[in-house]
C-alpha cells in the first residue's frame, strides 16, 4: 500500500478538541464531523484538503480526549496518512482501529514543510519527500497491525476472524 499527497503541517500537542471541537460531538456521522475538522487551529484546512493529502505534525499529536471522532473526521476529510514525531496513545489506537494509517517519524516531522509533496510506502515505512528529494525511514507496522489495516480496521478484522 502507498499514499501520496500534499502536506498540511502542524506543531506540538495538536489536541482532539481542535481536531474536532466538542461542540460538534452531538453527531457521529463522519461526513458531518469532517466539515469541522481542524476548524479551531486552521479554518482553511477543510476548504483546501484534497483526497490523499497528508498531515504532518510534531510531538503528541491527538492528545486529549479519547474521541474516535477525531481520526474519523481526519480520514473522512480525505487525509491518507498522518505522520508525527509522536502520537498520544489513545489517538494511536483509534487511528489504527478505524484504518487511518499513521507513522511515527521525528526526522520526517522535522524535514517536511507545509505544501511539500510526500509519498509513503506502508509496507517498508519509507517516507519520500518528493519536493525536497529526501527520504526518511519510519518503523513499518508490525504484522498484527498490517493485518488490522489491511482488513480496514479492527471491526472488519474481528468479523473476518468470526467468519473463519
Amino acid at each position: 500500500m502507498e499514499a501520496q499527497g500534499t502536506v498540511f503541517k502542524y506543531g506540538n500537542n495538536v489536541d482532539t478538541d481542535v481536531i474536532i471541537p466538542a461542540r460538534y460531538l452531538n453527531t457521529s456521522d463522519p461526513a458531518e464531523l469532517a466539515k469541522h475538522c481542524m476548524e479551531d487551529i486552521d479554518s482553511e484546512f477543510i476548504h483546501k484538503v484534497k483526497d490523499g493529502d497528508i498531515i504532518v505534525a510534531d510531538k503528541n499529536f491527538g492528545c486529549g480526549s479519547s474521541r474516535e471522532h477525531a481520526p474519523l473526521a481526519i480520514k473522512k476529510a480525505g487525509v491518507s496518512v498522518v505522520i508525527a514525531s509522536t502520537f498520544a496513545r489513545i489517538f494511536y489506537r483509534n487511528a489504527l482501529n478505524i484504518g487511518l494509517p499513521i507513522f511515527e517519524c521525528p526526522e520526517a516531522a522535522v524535514g517536511i514543510a507545509a505544501g511539500d509533496e510526500v509519498k509513503v510506502d506502508f509496507d517498508t515505512g519509507v517516507i519520500t519527500n518528493v519536493t525536497k528529494n529526501e527520504t526518511y525511514q519510519a518503523e513499518p507496522f508490525p504484522e498484527f497491525m498490517q493485518a488490522l489495516i489491511k482488513a480496514g480496521g479492527l471491526i472488519n478484522y474481528i468479523r473476518e476472524q468470526k467468519a473463519q
Binding site: 478538541d17 452531538n26 457521529s28 480526549s65 479519547s66 489513545i90 489506537r93 483509534n94
Partner: protein, 421 residues
C-alpha cells in the same frame, strides 16, 4: 527481570507468566465502559460484527453522562440509542438519569471495579480506577465495540514512571495540587504510553478521593494509566462498595522504571494550571491578579464528597462575588444526596452558588455553563485546552476545589489560606 504492578496485572490477564514493555498482548477484560458520546459509535460498530450478544452482560457498563439530562434533540437521540441497546442486550449496568453520575465516579461507587481488574472505557479518564489498584485505560469506540464482542483487547505493554511520595500535605492541599504539580514537572507528554505508579509512605496521607483525582489526570501527562498500591485505604473503600473478589498485585522489587521521581508532599503549594495546557502550572504564590467570570466545581476529577465539603467549608457564611457565576456539580446521585443530608447544598446555595444535577455538562463545554468570547473560568476539571468550555477565545484555569471556592468569593484566583478563617 521484575515486572511493574501494571505489567503483572496485564500478564495475568493475558495468561502469560511474564510480559515486557513494548510487547503486544491480548488481554481478558473485567469491564467495558462507554458513555453517550462514545457508545453510540461503538454500538454501530458492534452491530457490523454480526453477533447478537455482548460477551458478558454483567461486564459492560453504559453511562449517559456527557450531554444529559438531554441537552438537545441530537443528544436525546444518542441516549435513546444506548438505552435501547442496553435493553435489547439485557445489559445490567446501564444507569438512567436519576440513578446515574459521571462515569468515573459512578463505576467505583457501584462496586464495578476492584483491585487487579483490567478495565477499558471509551473515555480517556477511565484511568481513574487505578486508584483502586486496577489497570484501567481509555480507548476508542472501536476498541469498546470489539471489547463488548470478544471480552478481550490488544495492548502494548507499557513501561513505567515511579513517583515516590513522602511527607504530609498542608491543610488546603489536595490530590489535585499534587497531580497538577507532577504534570507541571513532567509535561503533557511526560508519561506518554507509560504507566504512572504512585508509591511511598506519603500515600497514607492521601484519601481515596485524592487518589481518584490523581489517577484521573494521569492521561493529562499522556499516561496510559495511573496506579496505586492496594493498602488499607483502598481495601476499606472496596469492601464498602463491592462484594466482588479481588486480587492484590504488587510491583516486583527489581521492576524497571524509565524514571523515578521523589516528591515531598509537605512542599506542595496550591497549584493552578494556566491556559491552554494542564502542564502550564504556577503555584498560587506566582499567580498574580487573574480576574474571573465563572468558577466551576465538580467533574470526574473533583466532584466527590470531599470536594463538595471543602467548597462548602470555605463558602459557608460567605457570598460568591457579584458578577461571578459559581456552578457546582456533584459527580453522582449518591454524592448529591450525601451533600444534601450533610447540609452542604444549603450552605452553597445560601452563598450564591448554582447547584446542578450530576452531568459532565460544563466540563467539556457541553451545556450548563458555557463561556462566551473573552470570558475566563477557574475550574476543578482536568482540561484547559482552547475552547474546552466554550468559545475558542475563552480561557480555563485548573485548580483544586479549595482554590476554586476561595476564588468564587473574591472574583479572582485566590489562595484558600487567605480566605478561610
Amino acid at each position: 527481570m521484575g515486572m511493574t504492578m501494571t505489567q503483572k496485572i496485564l500478564a495475568h490477564h493475558a495468561g502469560l507468566p511474564e510480559v515486557k514493555a513494548g510487547q503486544l498482548i491480548m488481554s481478558k477484560l473485567d469491564l467495558v465502559l462507554g458513555n453517550d458520546i462514545t457508545a453510540p459509535v461503538a454500538i454501530t460498530e458492534f452491530n457490523k460484527i454480526g453477533i447478537d450478544e455482548v460477551f458478558d452482560k454483567n461486564k459492560v457498563a453504559l453511562v449517559p453522562d456527557h450531554f444529559t439530562p438531554n441537552k438537545d434533540i441530537k443528544a436525546a437521540e444518542q441516549c435513546k440509542l444506548i438505552r435501547e441497546f442496553a435493553h435489547a442486550k439485557e445489559i445490567t449496568n446501564y444507569f438512567e438519569i436519576g440513578e446515574m453520575g459521571i462515569e468515573h465516579a459512578l463505576i467505583p461507587e457501584k462496586g464495578l471495579v476492584v483491585p487487579g481488574d483490567v478495565v477499558i472505557g471509551a473515555d480517556s479518564h477511565t484511568c481513574t480506577y487505578g486508584a483502586l489498584g486496577a489497570f484501567s485505560t481509555g480507548v476508542g469506540s472501536t476498541d469498546m465495540a470489539a471489547g463488548m464482542a470478544t471480552g478481550e483487547s490488544w495492548f502494548k505493554v507499557p513501561s513505567a514512571l515511579k513517583f515516590e511520595l513522602t511527607g504530609k500535605p498542608g491543610p488546603w492541599i489536595s490530590g489535585k495540587d499534587v497531580i497538577l504539580h507532577i504534570i507541571g514537572m513532567i509535561g503533557v507528554d511526560g508519561a506518554l504510553y507509560r504507566s504512572m505508579e504512585f508509591v511511598g509512605e506519603g500515600l497514607a496521607n492521601l484519601s481515596i478521593d485524592d487518589r481518584f483525582t490523581m489517577a484521573n489526570m494521569a492521561i493529562e501527562a499522556g499516561g496510559k494509566n495511573g496506579i496505586f498500591p492496594v493498602d488499607e485505604v483502598v481495601l476499606d473503600y472496596v469492601k464498602e462498595h463491592s462484594c466482588r473478589d479481588y486480587t492484590v498485585y504488587k510491583a516486583d522489587p527489581d521492576a524497571e522504571y524509565d524514571a523515578v521521581y521523589q516528591i515531598d508532599l509537605s512542599t506542595i503549594r496550591p497549584t493552578v494550571a494556566f491556559p491552554h495546557l494542564p502542564d502550564n502550572t504556577r503555584t498560587i504564590d506566582e499567580v498574580g491578579d487573574v480576574k474571573l467570570d465563572q468558577v466551576v466545581i465538580g467533574s470526574c476529577t473533583n466532584g466527590r464528597i470531599e470536594d463538595i465539603r471543602v467548597a462548602a467549608k470555605i463558602l459557608n457564611g460567605k457570598k460568591v462575588a457579584k458578577g461571578i457565576r459559581c456552578i457546582i456539580f456533584p459527580a453522582t446521585q449518591k454524592i448529591y444526596l450525601q451533600a444534601l443530608r450533610e447540609g452542604l447544598i444549603e450552605q452553597l446555595v445560601e452563598a450564591g452558588a448554582a447547584f446542578s444535577t450530576p452531568t459532565c455538562g460544563p466540563c467539556l463545554g457541553g451545556h450548563m455553563g458555557i463561556l462566551a468570547k473573552g470570558e475566563r473560568a477557574l475550574a476543578t476539571t482536568n482540561r484547559n485546552f482552547v475552547g474546552r468550555m466554550g468559545h475558542p477565545e475563552s480561557e480555563v484555569y485548573l485548580a483544586s476545589p479549595a482554590v476554586a471556592a476561595a476564588s468564587a468569593i473574591t472574583g479572582r484566583i485566590s489562595n484558600p489560606e487567605e480566605i478561610a478563617d
